[in-house]
């Protein structure tokens, strides 16, 4: 690797920081008073979407401990007295692990497969969060709003997912084998 100029260094740092920044942005956006019907209901699930998409694209830029911290932050911000802190963190970590374990079925496959994968994983996420919240607050929480969120986020995925995934084609690991040359993971192609 040749000595990089300042611009290249900034470029690398920017790339490394992008997924985390986007995730934090969506965590804060959860609280934004967007009064758009349906969409504002689904906001709390968008961070999970970001985690899924970036775990697919560039998992090394979204390490587990960072997800844990982001999840705890999300729980703290969403708040409500008695709501358990750390459920989203658990969900994020599990999503990342599930994506990592099933990369071969999710990376380099038609978009429809990724969508199905997202449907399955986010279903698990919603169930885990709902179940743990109900357990920790020891109340029977009406699952309808959670299901509504799920339905909306499923529909949003094809709109938002590809947009987030645009970080991917620049990654040498996602370039076809032949054109990859001697590039190492994490290095940018020109």
């Amino acid at each position: 690797m040749r000595a990089d100029g300042t611009i290249a260094l900034l470029d690398r740092m920017g790339r490394a920081a992008l997924p985390g920044t986007v995730l934090l942005y969506f965590v804060v956006l959860t609280l934004a008073p967007l009064r758009v019907p349906y969409l504002s209901d689904a906001l709390p699930l968008l961070p999970a979407l970001v985690v899924f998409q970036y775990s697919l694209a560039t998992p090394e830029r979204l390490p587990g401990p960072f997800l844990l911290a982001a999840g705890v932050l999300l729980d703290l911000l969403l708040g409500g007295p008695g709501a358990p802190v750390g459920v989203s963190a658990l969900g994020f970590v599990l999503i990342r692990a599930a994506v990592m374990a099933n990369r071969r079925y999710l990376v380099g496959v038609p978009f429809l497969f990724q969508w199905v994968g997202f449907c399955l994983l986010s279903w698990g996420y919603v169930i885990v969060v709902w179940l743990l919240t109900a357990l920790f607050t020891w109340t029977a929480i009406d699952p309808t709003p959670a299901m509504m969120q799920y339905a909306v986020v499923i529909v949003i995925y094809p709109l938002l997912g590809p947009l987030l995934a645009r970080v991917r084609p620049r990654d040498p690991l996602n370039v076809p084998e032949l054109s990859r040359g001697t590039a190492r993971p994490g290095e940018t192609t020109s």
Binding site: A32, S40, P84, G86, L90, M100, Q149
Partner: protein
């Protein structure tokens, strides 16, 4: 691979540990929440302003369409309200005189802190909002939050420059109220839906559709008589209330500083103790 498994296990354990700590040490979590709120509120305010502007533009455009009818309606309402104003003035005078006669001691004077809503705290599990005022402006936990139409909720958490409102519609909200017509005391409970449930302390008899529900002031932290909602359905043991406040388009609210902090902040170090009759899990 083994290392990855181990790391995953560690992270899962850490997440559960966070949950358990949150369950065990509510004060710590409360402080963490407040810190997170204070950190996030400048960013939120930056997001909220353009969004509020866009919402206002859309609302303006909608209103243009019905300007003429709206004007006619308002003129009619104005004339009706003027009649009410005359009646209210007369009653106020009469009240003052009667109070002088009976040497009635009035409750403390309430003052207001106006706040902008910078964040919605609405998810499948919570109904609330974030305000851009906090301890520095004199906000404390337990204070009532009102809109022009009626009660919106109460302050649940306070940071230096931010605070969180728990709406009356939240599943954790319990509010001591009065049925305005019959003066019957009751508890108003939210269930995360857009309507409220009225739990009467005495029988359900006598509550009719259209009855107004106002705060009773029990517990000392709320002024008496803030309108909360009206009865829209009253069948056997099942009374539903529609809140007056329109939670879908809140932009500014007022925090009622009622002078007495009542039972709410008797022990400021503890997690916000609910006022009597208000149960918080």
């Amino acid at each position: 691979m083994v290392l990855q498994r181990f790391a995953l296990g560690l992270l899962v354990v850490a997440a559960f540990a966070a949950m358990l700590i949150g369950k065990a040490d509510t004060v710590l979590v409360e402080n963490a929440r407040v810190l997170a709120l204070d950190l996030a509120s400048p960013a939120l305010e930056a997001i909220a302003r353009p969004v509020a502007y866009a919402n206002r533009v859309i609302a303006d455009l909608k209103e243009f369409a019905s300007l003429r009818e709206e004007n006619a309606r308002l003129r009619e309402e104005n004339s009706r309200l003027l009649a009410w104003q005359t009646a209210a003035r007369r009653l106020e005078n009469e009240n003052d005189r009667l109070r002088e006669l009976s040497q009635f001691r009035e409750g403390p004077e309430a003052s207001f802190i106006t706040a902008r809503i910078v964040g919605d705290s609405v998810s499948a599990y919570v109904r609330g909002a974030l305000l851009n005022v906090g301890r520095r402006a004199g906000v404390t936990t337990g204070q009532a939050v009102v809109t022009g139409e009626g009660l919106a909720g109460r302050i649940a958490e306070v940071g230096d420059n931010s605070s969180r409102v728990l709406f009356v519609t939240d599943v954790n909200s319990r509010l001591p109220v009065l049925v305005e017509r019959t003066r019957e005391r009751a508890i108003l409970a939210g269930d995360n839906s857009s309507q409220l449930r009225l739990n009467l302390l005495q029988g359900v008899a006598g509550v009719q559709r259209g009855d107004r529900i106002v705060t009773s002031g029990d517990g000392g932290s709320f002024p008496v008589g803030i309108p909360v909602g009206e009865v829209i359905q009253s069948s056997e043991g099942h009374i539903r209330i529609r809140p007056f406040a329109d939670f879908s388009r809140l932009e500014f609210v007022r925090v009622v500083n009622y002078g007495v902090t009542g039972l709410v902040t008797a022990n400021p170090q503890a997690a916000p103790a609910p006022p009597a009759g208000q149960k918080v899990r």
